[in-house]
């Protein structure tokens, strides 16, 4: 792997949506993805359980690939590959 190159699937950027209630985590995700390029991976961390449904649904609607969905003790983590 070259110098600063990230491994495939590793997050390029991170969005902290903890404390936000749906649909705000989805809105913030959407706005951040708009600034990224195809193939970039965004990590989203959120606390509202509604994201477990909304983030995957939003990815399906826009054709983005959801690489990781993880339910942790205090939050939820997603990796989204921009399509």
């Amino acid at each position: 792997m070259k110098g600063s190159q990230k491994p495939h699937g590793a997050p390029t950027t991170r969005l902290d949506a903890r404390g936000l209630l749906c649909p705000l985590p989805v809105i913030r995700t959407q706005d951040r993805v708009r600034m990224l390029k195809v193939g970039d991976v965004l990590e989203v961390v959120a606390t509202d359980p509604g994201v477990l449904h909304d983030i995957p649904a939003w990815c399906r609607v826009h054709g983005h690939r959801l690489l990781v969905t993880e339910q942790r003790a205090d939050d939820f983590r997603f990796h989204i590959e921009v399509a």
């Binding site: 404390g19 209630l21 749906c22 649909p23 705000l24 989805v26 809105i27 959407q30 509202d48 359980p49 509604g50 477990l52 449904h53 909304d54 649904a57 939003w58 399906r60 609607v61 826009h62």
Partner: protein, 355 residues
């Protein structure tokens, strides 16, 4: 040779609330080969989403965002737009006034159609806007005389297409230009939902959302009462996002003009209110399981004793002789009060904000 200019599909923005009518309107136009994208505006007053997250009640129902669900069913993209700040002026200064409560429906529709038309998603505008409006469906905004007002004041003019009631209105630009076939549009009117339900069935749609009272808290009498109370108590018609979120949660009890209690009704609300503990004086019952209570305003020590008695009244110790209640101040200072729970007969019904 094929004329590429003529064959480029026109692009329409469909206002998607998550309810049935906007879903049908988008589907009718989508089926005519138009490139439809959904727009959903988040005003902060949307019933959608938030309360599902806050309250545990109704958790047996699937926790979904209905606008996203609609987009998925239709196979269209959906852009959810945060208009919380911009929308404030609509709520505070509606040119066309309010409906039955604090719902500025006509101004709201004008605002949303204008925003949809000018949304710059993917750096491209839209050729026209689709709404699920039906003449006679809503007493404030969906009337024969208000339809032209929305078209005119939004700036959309005849680029505003209402596919479900188009046959009751003059042909719009998309119809005149042949972008959509008017013969495949509808002439629904009035409050009868049967035509929409029949159309939904013909498309194979089921499990669609039909929120009672619409999709906005401002149409709710109790919610509007709480918002009006907030303005009265502060002496100014204004709000921030946290204000309007807190109005959705808990019992709001105002024993005096200078303070009110927000009492969590169940675990989900207590968890939500806990996020505000550092900003408000708050109470929790120690000797018995009970709600988290925030105090909004400037309570005196005597007020806090009364507030503790009210909090105790909603705890498991409501019939006990004494309940211990911790009073926490934002400064970090806490004190324990031992109080007799308030009797139901002592709790003045007029203190309940919003009825």
């Amino acid at each position: 040779m094929r004329n590429e200019t003529v064959n480029v599909p026109k692009r329409a923005a469909a206002l998607i609330s998550g309810g049935l009518d906007s879903m049908l309107a988008a589907k009718v136009v989508l089926d005519q080969g138009v490139d439809v994208e959904g727009i959903n505006f988040f005003t902060g007053f949307c019933v959608e989403g938030h309360t599902h997250a806050i309250r545990k009640r109704g958790r047996s129902r699937e926790k979904r965002n209905n606008a996203l669900w609609v987009a998925e069913q239709l196979g269209i993209k959906l852009h959810i737009v945060d208009v919380i700040d911009e929308y404030k002026d609509i709520v505070l200064n509606p040119k066309h006034g309010y409906g039955a409560n604090l719902n500025p429906c006509l101004d709201c529709k004008i605002f949303m159609v204008n925003k949809a038309l000018t949304q710059d998603v993917l750096d491209r505008g839209f050729d026209f806007v689709i709404t699920g409006e039906v003449i006679g469906q809503r007493p404030k905004s969906q009337r024969a005389d208000t339809m032209p007002v929305i078209a005119r004041e939004s700036g959309a003019g005849d680029r505003l297409l209402r596919p479900l009631c188009a046959l009751n209105l003059p042909p719009t630009l998309p119809e005149r230009e042949g972008w959509v076939d008017r013969d495949q549009l509808f002439g629904f009117h009035g409050r009868d939902r049967k035509p929409q339900m029949a159309l939904a069935e013909s498309f194979g749609f089921s499990d669609y959302a039909q929120p009672a009272g619409g999709c906005c808290f401002l149409t709710d009498e109790r919610y509007a009462g709480k918002l009006a109370d907030l303005w009265d108590a502060r002496g100014v018609r204004d709000y921030d996002f946290d204000d309007i979120m807190l109005l959705k949660v808990g019992r709001h009890i105002r024993p005096a003009p200078h303070y009110k209690l927000i009492v969590g009704r169940e675990e989900g609300e207590n968890n939500f209110l806990a996020g505000y503990r550092r900003r408000f004086v708050h109470l929790d019952t120690v000797s018995h399981t009970g709600p988290l209570t925030l105090i909004d305003g400037e309570p005196t020590d005597a007020d806090l004793v009364l507030a503790a008695r009210i909090a105790a009244r909603y705890s498991q110790g409501r019939t006990a002789a004494e309940v211990s209640v911790n009073v926490h101040r934002p400064s970090g200072v806490s004190a324990e009060l031992r109080v007799a729970p308030m009797l139901p007969t002592e709790l003045n019904p007029a203190w309940h904000v919003g009825g």
